[in-house]
Amino acid sequence: MRRGAVRALPPLLLSAGLIGAWELYVDLAGVEAELLPAPHAVASALWDSAGLLGRNFAVTAEEVVLGLWLALACGLALAVAIHLSPLLRRAVYPLAVGSQAVPIPVIGVLLVFWWGFGILPKLVVIALICFFPVLVTTVDGLAAVDPDQPKLLRTLDASRWQAFRFAELPAALPAALSGARIALAVGVIGAFIAETTTPTSGAYPGLGRQIIADINFQTPRAYAGTAVLVAFAMACFYALAVAERRLAPWSVRPRGDNR
C-alpha cells in the first residue's frame, strides 16, 4: 500500500506542477477563455456537466473497449495466419501497412452506408487504427522462438500444432501484450476519430462529438471532456499492465544470471 503511494507520487506531483503552471499562465497572461480555459474553469465545467459528460463517456468507453477487442482479435488472427503461411505474409503484410495510411473520413460514409448509424462502423474504425501494432509485434514475437526449439520439439514428436501451442504462442504473448498496450494508447483517439467521421443517431453521440460541439462556445466543457478521455486512456493502460503481470509473469520477472 505504501509502496503504491510512493510510486504514484512522481506523476501526481508532475501533473500538479503542470496544472499550476497552466493556471498561472492563463491568469497572468490574460488568455481568453475561448482560446485556453484555466484549469479551475475546466474543473467547474466538469462538475456542472458531470451528467452530460458521463453519459457521453459511457458511449465512448463502450466503443473503445469493444473496438480494442475487435482490434486484438483481428491483429492476433492475422499475425498467426501470416506466421504460418509465407504466401499470406507476402500477400497481406504490405496491404496491412497501407491500410494505416487511409484517412478515415474517406471511408466513414461508406462504413455508415454498410452498417448504419449504430456502434458497428465506429468499432470498425477503431479496429482499423488499432490492429496494426498488435499485428506487427505478434508476428515478430511468433518468429522470435529459439531456432533450436523446433528441432527439440520434433524429436519429442510434436506436431506443427503442438509446436505452436507449446512454444510459439506463449513465446509471442509478451510481444502481443506490448502491441496491445500501443493499441490501447491510440484506441481512445481512435474512438474520437470514429465518432467525428461516422454520424450517429443515438441520444448521446459520445465524448468525441460532444467535444467538437463544445469547442467554440463551451470551451471549458470541451476541455473537461478531453480530461475525461485522457484519464480513461491512462486507466486502461495501467489496467493492461496489471493484466500483463498475470498473463505473462515470466516476461516481467527478473531473469537469472545464467541465461
Partner: protein, 261 residues
C-alpha cells in the same frame, strides 16, 4: 498424489531396452554453409552402439558431432551410407527450457505432447523428479534454477520422452568445472537406475572415459572416426583410475594426430 502402487502400475511408455543396436555404415553429410559453399561435416563414419550402451563421441569443435546426433534423431538424412537407429530423442546443447513453464511442467513436456493431460503428465514426472534429486524444485521456473539444475530438468524431459535412445549434445559444456563433475556423477547414477542407450557428444575426453562403454574419436572437419576405444573399467569410475587415465591419454594422442593430419 498417486500412491506408490498406482505409480508402479503405470506401464512404461515404450520399451526402453531390447532394441536393435545403433549402426552407422560409411555415413557422409554435406550441408550448405552460410555463404553458399558446401561444407562437408562428416565423411565415411562407421559406428556401432549396442543396446543399453553409452557411446561417447569426442572430437574438436566443429567436427560434425552435433550433425551426427541430428542424423541419429532423424532431423537430417545422410548423403551417403546407411543409418540404423531405434527412435532417438535429442537433448540439445542449450537446455531450451520454456521460461513460462515450471520445472515440473518442462520435464513433463514430452508427456503432454504424447497426449497426456496436464495432471497425468505431472504426476508421472513428479515421481522421477524426486528420484533424480530435483525434489523441492517442482514449482521453480527456469530463471530461478542454477545451470546444473536446468540441465537436470532438460535431461529429465529427454528421459520422459520414453524413447530408447538418448542423444546428448555436450550436456555439461556450459557448466563450471565443479558443477560439471557433480553432473557427471549424477548422470552416471541416473543411467544406472534408468538404463538407456545413450550417444553422448562431448569435447571433454575425461568425461567420455568416466561415463562411456565405448568412445569414438573424430577428426577435425570433415569428421572421420580416427580411434575407437572400449572402456571396461567397472562403475563408478574415478578420474584417477589407471584405465581411465591410460585411455584418456590414448584418446588425446589420437586427437593430436588427427589435428596434424
Amino acid at each position: 498424489m498417486p500412491t506408490e502402487l498406482q505409480s508402479r502400475a503405470q506401464p512404461p511408455l515404450t520399451r526402453r531396452l531390447g532394441h536393435e543396436p545403433i549402426s552407422l555404415e560409411g555415413v557422409g553429410f554435406t550441408y550448405r554453409g552460410s555463404r553458399g559453399g558446401a561444407v562437408r561435416a562428416l565423411a565415411n563414419v562407421s559406428l556401432r552402439c549396442g543396446d543399453g550402451e553409452l557411446l561417447a563421441v569426442v572430437g574438436p569443435s566443429g567436427c560434425g558431432k552435433s550433425t551426427l546426433l541430428e542424423l541419429l534423431c532423424g532431423l537430417r538424412s545422410p548423403d551417403a551410407g546407411t543409418i540404423a537407429c531405434p527412435p532417438a530423442v535429442l537433448m540439445p546443447q542449450r537446455d531450451l527450457l520454456l521460461p513460462w513453464l515450471s520445472a515440473l511442467d518442462n520435464a513433463a513436456l514430452a508427456l503432454r505432447i504424447a497426449g497426456l493431460s496436464r495432471g497425468a503428465a505431472r504426476s508421472r514426472a513428479r515421481q522421477l523428479f524426486a528420484e533424480l534429486g530435483l525434489d523441492g524444485f517442482q514449482l521453480a521456473h527456469p530463471s530461478e534454477l542454477s545451470g546444473g539444475m536446468r540441465q537436470r530438468v532438460a535431461f529429465l524431459r529427454t528421459l520422459l520422452s520414453g524413447k530408447p535412445v538418448l542423444c546428448l549434445d555436450e550436456p555439461f559444456g556450459a557448466l563450471d568445472a565443479i558443477t560439471r563433475g557433480e553432473m557427471q556423477e549424477w548422470l552416471a547414477g541416473t543411467l544406472a537406475r534408468e538404463r538407456r542407450t545413450v550417444v553422448l557428444v562431448t569435447h571433454d575426453v575425461e568425461e567420455a572415459m568416466l561415463l562411456a562403454d565405448r568412445v569414438a574419436v573424430l577428426s577435425p572437419r570433415p569428421g572421420r572416426v580416427i580411434a575407437q576405444l572400449e572402456v571396461e573399467a567397472c562403475r563408478p569410475r574415478a578420474r584417477t583410475d589407471a584405465q581411465v587415465i591410460a585411455l584418456r591419454e590414448r584418446a588425446l594422442s589420437a586427437l593430436a594426430e588427427g589435428a596434424r593430419a
